[in-house]
Each structure stands twice: as C-alpha cells, then as structure tokens.
C-alpha cells in the first residue's frame, strides 16, 4: 500500500517537473524568437516545409470531411424539413470545429512527427552539441523558427481545409441530394458571423503552437539512440493529439 503511494507520488512529481521543463522550453523559444537577429530565412523555409508536406493530406481530408458532412447534415436536417440550412450547418461545423481540429491532426501526423524525428536524430548524432560548441543557441536556431512557422502555416492550412470542406459538402448536398444551390449559400451567409471565423482562427493558431512546441520539445530531448528517436516521435504525436482536444474543449467553452 505504502509502495503504491510512493509510486503514485513519484509519478506525479516526475510529470509535474516534466511539465515545468516543457513550459520553460516554450518560454525560452518565444523569448529567443524576439531576440535579434531574426531568422526570417529559416522561418520561411519551415513554413514551406509544413505547407508542402501537409497540403495534400489537408486537401484530401478536408474534401472528404465536407462530403461526409453533406450527407450527415442532410440526413439530420431533413427530419426537421430544414435541408435548406445545409450550407450553414456545414460551414459552422467546419469553421468552428472540424476545420481547426482535423487539420491540426493532419499536420501533427505529417509534419509534427517528422519534426520530432529530425530533432531527435540531430540530438543523437551530436548536431545539437555541435551547435552549442559553435556558440549558437540551438533553441533559437532550431526551435523558435519552427514555432513561428507553425503559428503562420496552421491558420492557412485550416483556411484551405474549411474552403475545400464547404465545397465538398456543396457537391454532396447540391449535386447529389438536390438541395438548392441558392439556399446553400444564402443560409451560410445569413448564419455565419465574424465570431465563428474568429474562434476557428484562434483555435488553429493555438494548435499551431501546440504542435510545434510539443514535437520540438520531444525531439530535442530524445534519448540519443534509435529507439529514443522513435519513442519521442510517438510520444509527440500522442501528446499533441491530447493537448489539441483538451485545449479545443477549453477554447470552445470560453468562446461560445
């Protein structure tokens, strides 16, 4: 019994100190991002990598999510004879919730895991030590630009996801199920307000931060061996998913 308690206590302490370290890591990265010289070239490079890597999966998943929403929305709305509201239902669902969350999942799987693996490999092959030895702060050089790039790229990808999704729902609703095209868009126009777009934007922004932060942290501190890198990659994806969902709940509840 006592040993169980010690176990729980030790586990909690370890988790707490890990959380503290993660938080300090983020603070350092943000602080260093504002210290000149700014790494504009690197930031653009990482925006390009995140964008190019994730664009195809975001397009594909956005399109299919939209089409599914077309079917599901039509099915639910028809029970109330409200098929003409399909456009607004799809747009609200995508803009407020599914767009930010699903595209964040896609980016985590596609780019976040690669980030963790890359930094983990750099740790294992002493490249991070080499940066230190050249008097270059690896957090400023490796982490800060990735976090800023995540903050910029994530809302853009989410916007693409939203647009493609709305178009997918339109194809199904209007093309297949016979909702009128005019009511699809006019319903959307009359019910979507600025706050819907804004809350989706804030979500995607914070998800961009969560993904790059968690994945960089896990990669940066990976144990220096092959299994360490693979473990860091897995952990970074799982932790990102969990944090995205928890933070999503929190934001939804405050911004409703």
């Amino acid at each position: 019994m006592l040993s169980l308690l010690t176990h729980i206590g030790r586990f909690t302490l370890r988790q707490l100190s890990e959380m503290g370290r993660m938080f300090l890591f983020l603070l350092a990265a943000i602080f260093l991002a504002f210290r000149p010289p700014a790494k504009i070239g690197l930031i653009i490079h990482h925006i390009k990598t995140i964008g190019v890597d994730s664009l195809s999966v975001v397009l594909l998943s956005g399109f299919f999510t939209g089409m599914v929403m077309g079917f599901q929305g039509y099915y639910s709305l028809r029970k109330f004879n409200a098929e003409s509201w399909l456009g607004s239902a799809a747009a609200l669902g995508l803009l407020r919730e599914l767009g930010p969350v699903l595209s964040a999942f896609m980016v985590t799987g596609r780019t976040g895991s690669a980030m963790a693996a890359e930094l983990g490999t750099m740790r294992a092959t002493e490249q991070i030590d080499a940066l230190y030895s050249m008097a270059i702060n690896p957090i400023k050089y490796l982490v800060s630009p990735r976090i800023i790039a995540g903050l910029i790229a994530m809302p853009l990808l989410t916007a693409i996801f939203d647009v493609v999704g709305i178009y997918g729902a339109y194809l199904v609703g209007v093309g297949l199920l016979g909702v009128s095209s005019g009511s699809y868009f006019s319903g959307m126009e009359s019910s979507v307000v600025f706050n819907d777009v804004y809350s989706g934007f804030m979500k995607s922004l914070s998800f961009g931060l969560i993904i790059t932060w968690v994945c960089c942290y896990k990669g940066f501190h990976a144990p220096p061996m092959a299994t360490g890198v693979s473990q860091a990659t897995t952990e970074s994806v799982v932790l990102s998913f969990v944090l995205i969902l928890v933070w999503d709940y929190f934001l939804t509840s405050v911004m409703l």
């Binding site: 080499a130 230190y132 702060n137």
Partner: protein, 248 residues
C-alpha cells in the same frame, strides 16, 4: 592555460570520471589516450562545458567555466573549435554551408571573403570540389575531414579534436596530423587531441596524458611519456593483452 581540477562525472550509476586532474599548456598540443570507452570524449566535452561535472572545476585562463552565466558561456565557447568524434555535420546543409556556417552566424564577413576562406579550408583537408555534397553522401573519413575544416574555420584559440584520424587510411592520417601541426604552428592554438593512432600522433604532440579507470594515470611531455616505466603506459603503447589494463 586550461586546468581540469578534480572532475567527477557519472551517468546514472556509472562513474566515468573519478577525479581527473590535468593541465593543458597554452599554445601546445596535448594528446589524451586511453582504452575505448574509458571516458575521453566525456572529458573533452567538459573542456567547453558541453557537459558539466558533478564535482570539480574546469578553469580556462583561471575562469571556472562550470559556473559561467549563459552569455559568458557562449562567449567562452566561441573561443573553441571542436571536431566531434562523429563529425556532427548538420545534415540539412551541404559541406560548403557546414564549413561556412560559423562564419555566417558569428561574423559579418562578406560573401566573397567567406567563400575564399571556406574553399581554402576545404582544400587543406583534401575536399576541394566536394563542397556541393551533403554529409549523407560522404564517406566516414570525408565527414571527419569536413568536420575538421569546420573546427578550424574560425581560427579558434583552442581546438578540441576527438579522434581526428580514426577511420582514415594511414596516408591520410599522416596528412591530417601534418595539417594539425601546420595550422597549430601558423595560428598557435592550444590543441587537445584524443587519438588511438599510436605512435604516429606522438609526433605532433607536445604532451601526452593517459586516462585509465577514471583518472589521469600519467601526463608528461611526449618523450618522457614514451620512455615512462609506468606499466599502464607500457601496456597501452605496446598494445599488450597482459598487464594492469583489464580488457575483455
């Protein structure tokens, strides 16, 4: 002058350094030898505070670098050039960019001047015309040489070489030794060399120290070291199985 005073270091339960005392004379080359896995790389990484000791001090010009604040520490590290055992080239960029990297990040040198300097260093290590390749496209020995070019490109005051010739053919090993000796004479840096290339490395060393069982067993000017009657030194130089160093 770099002085290592009573440095202890453990990883988990494993004691690697058990009170190392060693001085490195300014403007001279000191070679550290010792069996594989005895802690030479660990000791080397203490010299520019990539690792911090559990106990003890590392003094560079009488400043204890284990207690420096971040800013001073970075300034201190800027005085060092390091060749890592695995070269540790940044694999996202070409060899040329790797060697140019410290110049780009740490100096305001103009592009043409920088280009000239990088190419000169690449020539010196026998990598002329290879600058466009990525680290993954090079052999182990070529990576080593590119790492050497990077370590020397900033004309550092102190250079740490972790096994500069391991994995090179004998001719090239001699070439690299000569390069180290030549640049040392030209720039007068303080050199610390970890090497298994015995006895060739003695030709460029002013002092030799042997690390055994977590302490410096013997540290002497090269001639005296080679003549030392210490059984550990004798066994190591001759590569004998029988003796105080326990292997296998």
């Amino acid at each position: 002058m770099i002085r290592v005073v009573d440095v202890h270091k453990s990883f988990g339960g494993q004691q690697v350094l058990k009170g190392v005392n060693l001085n490195f004379t300014t403007g001279k080359i000191t070679t550290i030898v010792g069996t594989s896995g005895c802690g030479k790389t660990v000791l080397l990484k203490h010299l520019n505070a990539l690792l911090l000791p559990d106990r003890g001090e590392v003094l560079v010009d009488d400043i204890d670098i284990t207690k420096l604040r971040q800013k001073e520490l970075y300034a201190m590290r800027g005085r060092f050039g390091v060749l890592f055992q695995g070269a540790a080239l940044l694999d996202s960029m070409t060899i040329f960019d790797n060697v140019a990297f410290p110049l780009r990040e740490k100096t305001r040198m103009g592009e043409p001047e920088m280009r000239k300097k990088v190419e000169e260093r690449l020539d010196q290590v026998g990598l002329e015309g290879m600058g466009y390749k990525y680290p993954a496209e090079l052999s182990g020995g070529m990576k080593k040489r590119a790492g050497l070019a990077r370590a020397l490109v900033m004309d550092p005051e102190i250079v740490l070489f972790d096994e500069p010739t391991t994995g090179l053919d004998p001719v090239l090993a001699t070439g690299i030794h000569q390069l180290i000796a030549r640049t040392q004479q030209a720039f007068g840096f303080t050199g610390v060399v970890v090497s298994h290339t015995i006895p060739q490395v003695f030709e460029i060393s002013d002092y030799v120290a042997i690390l055994a069982d977590g302490v410096i067993e013997e540290a002497k000017p090269t001639k005296e070291f080679q003549a030392s009657q210490n059984p550990v030194v004798q066994q190591f130089i001759k590569g004998e199985i029988e003796g105080p160093i326990r292997v296998l």
